[in-house]
Symmetry: C2
Subunit: 110 residues, 2 copies
DNA sequence: GATCACGCCTAGATGGACTAGGCATCTATT
DNA sequence: AATAGATGCCTAGTCCATCTAGGCGTGATC
């Protein structure tokens, strides 16, 4: 009966995507897989969340798309982090650390 | 130019409210103040978020309201945690720990 | 040449948080 | 006693990230 919790913490997807392509460009599904894998399958990224998020990030200038070919020999859009995206990842990571520290501080009270 | 971040992490308000009345009943504004204070003013709870959340929680049977008088001698609705609410707080805390651990694990990768 | 997996895409719904008000009551000021 | 301010509660409307539930095209497999 308990309402199902989402697969993500609201508002963290952008940060996770930026992180997933920090080292090397990846295509959409590759990014989702990477996040899932890096989190030991705890986080799940639905496609209906993923693609809109990628457009948001590209519109903000934080990532840039390039056409390419996947490992499975299929056309795919590879996204890479821009300089602004790198800054954004840093900013979001700091904000995340600050907020979670505050929440954990509340939860830790007697 | 950067979009303003919300005062809370989406989806954590219910848990924070339950936590704020874990030890003793409080009224609406008192709960908001308590959360703010316990987080060293990092978290802010808007009234437009607070009251709908209180109704949600009461409808779920996790908190129960009682009429009372505030320290400022005004009528106020005091909320106390129910047994189910205590269980819920525990469940949400665990879920939060699990999700943040996963996210931090992603962020910690090379 | 069917079927399946891959990769991308989108409309619509959901729901929690926020904005921006309002109302009633008590206290303080004059 | 009239006004102003603080306290406490309430709500309509909006916003927006995420999810559901589809669809499309193409390469691989048999």
């Amino acid at each position: 009966m308990a309402k199902e919790k989402p697969d993500l913490v609201y508002g963290t997807l952008d940060m996770l995507i930026l992180k997933a392509i920090q080292l090397e460009p990846r295509h959409g599904l590759g990014i989702a897989d990477r996040i899932q894998q890096m989190s030991d399958e705890v986080l799940r990224v639905e496609q209906g969340s993923l693609y809109p998020a990628l457009y948001r990030l590209e519109a903000q200038g934080w990532i840039k798309a390039e056409e390419g070919i996947s490992e499975s020999n299929r056309k795919a859009r590879f996204y890479r982090l821009t300089a602004a995206g790198r800054k954004q990842l840093e900013a979001e990571t700091e904000h995340w650390a600050r907020m979670t520290a505050a929440i954990n501080q509340v939860l830790a009270k007697v």
